[in-house]
Symmetry: C2
């Protein structure tokens, strides 16, 4: 593709992904149509279908690409504060309408592999912070970091998915406080 | 209904529920048909449809009724051993084909309220054991029991549902060991 055509193609792609996320937030997954995304992005329907066979794949790409762009590395603070902030952000994301719609759609379509992929960035951040804490002696050196991360995230994801209780910052703070007692020397 | 008819009706109901569980174990949810359940139970298809509108509702009732019957109250042992045994049993149940099929079917049909109901008996047992441990001074008295139960079950259910890692007894033992460090005085 000549450089100008490649640039136009990148611009169209970004316009489509942005429109998809805006519309799933406004309409929810069930009412979202490829026609509406095409109209808002100013491209033809066929352009969308050429890149994405279904609205599910389109939304998944939109979510992964546009979300990753906004993620900054945060300066480190006290371990407990850092973990609480991470879990509160995880909850804020889970209850955000567009994320909730995309994730539940994937669960209902039995694409739990993709749900796991969507959730992986948070898990990686938590594991990095915990590994750092291990090196700094803030937690015991024999703690299994992946299991510790699941102790933090498991209760939160379970409440979100199965709606077993209110998904609040107070709940996740308690999970952090309990887990830190388990991890500290 | 005269007593004889009521007994016949109870017998038919039990035969249908038993056949449904056997067949979902043998065939999986997708291949299970109401015709096959009727044939094995020795009742007419209409008898099944009169009581259960869909195979999903039939399987759910089968699971709840026949499972509850087999649950015994266990003598208490050391707290850590009891919790490890409970989680290992939870895992054995989750990976059992008929339970796995019924639960994933419910998740895919967005009936997570029913999944929660299916999982509730285990949660209740864990909460009772933890409350007892609180009264006996085995764990701190200020521990929030429902949150502690989610710390134990959340990581297990998350691994089961999202397949984020191998669902083994070694994993759940680690979860118990870590959680107990959090709960003990």
């Amino acid at each position: 593709m000549p450089p100008d055509a490649a640039r136009r193609s990148d611009r169209s792609r970004l316009a489509v992904l942005t429109a998809a996320l805006e519309l799933v937030e406004e309409l929810g997954y069930a009412k979202l149509t490829v026609e509406a995304v095409a109209a808002r992005a100013g491209v033809g329907k066929q352009t969308i279908y050429r890149w994405w066979p279904t609205k599910g794949t389109l939304l998944f790409d939109a979510f992964v690409e546009l979300r990753a762009a906004g993620r900054d590395v945060r300066p480190r603070g006290e371990l407990g504060d850092d973990l609480k902030l991470e879990l509160r952000e995880a909850i804020a994301e889970l209850v955000e309408r567009r994320f909730d719609q995309v994730c539940r759609m994937l669960v209902h379509e039995a694409r739990t592999d993709l749900v796991t992929l969507l959730l992986t960035p948070r898990r990686v951040v938590l594991e990095q912070r915990l590994a750092e804490a291990g090196r700094a002696g803030e937690i015991r050196s024999d703690v299994d970091v992946p299991t510790a991360a699941e102790l933090l995230l498991g209760p939160v994801y379970q409440r979100w998915l199965l709606r077993t209780g209110p998904l609040t910052g107070a709940f996740s703070d308690t999970v952090v406080d309990l887990t830190l007692r388990a991890l500290r020397a």
